[in-house]
Symmetry: C2
Subunit: 336 residues, 2 copies
Amino acid sequence: MNRAGNPTISDVAARAGVSVPTVSRVLTGAARVSPAKRELVEAAIADLGYRPSAAARALVSRKPQTIAIIAGNTSRYGYAETIRGIEIAARAEGYTVMITVVESADEDEVDRAIAATLTQPLAGVAVLKFDPPGVAALAKIPPHLPVVALSGVRDPATPQAVLDEAAAADELTRHLLDLGHTTVHHVRVPPSRKVDGRTTGWRRALRRAGAPVPAAVDATWDPRSGVAIGRALAADPAVTAVFCGNDEIAMGVMRGITEAGLRIPDDVSVAGFDDNPLAELWSPPLTTVEQDFAGLGGRGFQLLLNAVDGTDDRRYSSERPRLVLRASTAAPKPRA
Amino acid sequence: MNRAGNPTISDVAARAGVSVPTVSRVLTGAARVSPAKRELVEAAIADLGYRPSAAARALVSRKPQTIAIIAGNTSRYGYAETIRGIEIAARAEGYTVMITVVESADEDEVDRAIAATLTQPLAGVAVLKFDPPGVAALAKIPPHLPVVALSGVRDPATPQAVLDEAAAADELTRHLLDLGHTTVHHVRVPPSRKVDGRTTGWRRALRRAGAPVPAAVDATWDPRSGVAIGRALAADPAVTAVFCGNDEIAMGVMRGITEAGLRIPDDVSVAGFDDNPLAELWSPPLTTVEQDFAGLGGRGFQLLLNAVDGTDDRRYSSERPRLVLRASTAAPKPRA
DNA sequence: TTGAAAGCGCTAACAG
DNA sequence: CTGTTAGCGCTTTCAA
């Protein structure tokens, strides 16, 4: 019994009448143990309700079974789903997950978060490179620690799992152009850097089509920030199609446009990104891009595992999100 | 240097020309150290980029700085916000947070999750008692470990932070009744138990008003499950007001009602619960109950801290959610 | 104020 | 197959 009242491995050994290492052997399966002793040990473990101490194990074996996720946020849709995907994959492999939130890219804040995290015995770290705090945190991870970046700008220096947002944004923009819109306006969510896949793909599609490239409008993460933007967009007769950086913002923008007296999609087409569960229930149902965030998390974890045990050396995983056409986009009609 | 290439406390000691315990003393502040040596040690720590190992610390000191959150889900709105609230409060107190997901109340799954969690050196555990997996997990936490339940049925055996959902549901139902509705129908989200605050408050208000109590309809967590329910409700002329267990379901129900050709709130009033960020952007903006989930998480962490260090013995914290009246509810009008 | 010694709970050699 | 011996990185006695 230790100070917290938990049985220890030596309690088990004593009860089973074997040595401590023998107990360890049945626990880890590191060596063969005779069936007789194994049974004794298992019985003792069950009787005592013994649980091995991860701290002691990590200390001596250097094979920690914990990974840390560093994220700028834990509750927004894409973040939460990605974290869920990592957690599920990690759990399936017997890993425990620890979460550290870094709310700003402020150096002190990042340092503090990293320090708190690295204090733990970690098999590796997954960083959500969705935003500036994520980018800043990734830069501070010590080189010897296995790491994977989820999303973000391509960087060969680090294993990375991404969703090919640029390709999807390109496809969505092209779709709008094909519908007959002269150009497509764009409302951005706070980008992780100067470059942002959604914006890049949008611009690329416009350029390729020879369409004018309007200035992108910046929204915040708060869906309400889209309302004022929607109103302003509605006031400009040149605006017939709007591509928003995520579904929440799109919903805000739609509300602003509607409040201004225009109809969607008759007067203005609006598309989002992410395929939030509420997107298909919106009125009108929102055209968007389905992003498999949970899958992103799962692929990221696999890459991290590769980096940890080195069996597989794949370091990059990209998946193309899927366009979901719904009723919020249509061919332009001359405004009444 | 240990095997992972990290400097250890003895590297620091060697570099500073002092003993290991002296380094430990400046680290923990457990005893006075002469300014001269302290400076030497601090310089060595900085030079080496030394970070104490939480595993070793936890092993010897039995004062772990990690708490575990056990949750049935990490990405749904209320869950994610609550987790965020706990994380923020914990971080402010120097605690690291670990997350374990228990997806079903299945005994094996719960046991496995608990076992994986308890293996870590933990100061305490916060359980989201939002659903059956949460309830099942709570029952399995060993008695010596400090624990707090977030939400759920009142249980004096465990420190608990709640949102008084019954009071809020009662208030909302009464509001609908006061508007002139003969009764209020109710669509439930999967309850954590037979009793569920939202349903209880709804029923209480109806009974007190002498209004008929219709059978509650069960939805799943998927907002789409609300659509079919909405259609069915629309087919019943007796339905003029619907109170839904959460906003997502309410959005699905509204869509079903609209698809059936009825208008909201003219033909049917619909109210939700939670005040999802999208609720106010919905058409029409959704009447709901604002739940401060992040605050719930924060209060829960405080209670856990009380249980851990025993300075304060408060074990219960309840807060009354706030009614938010918007355009989805109105006085009943005879259907055309 | 400081160092030497002991030991947290466990796994990794190493004999036997 | 199994026990003995070390020792992980740290804090906690205990003397000095």
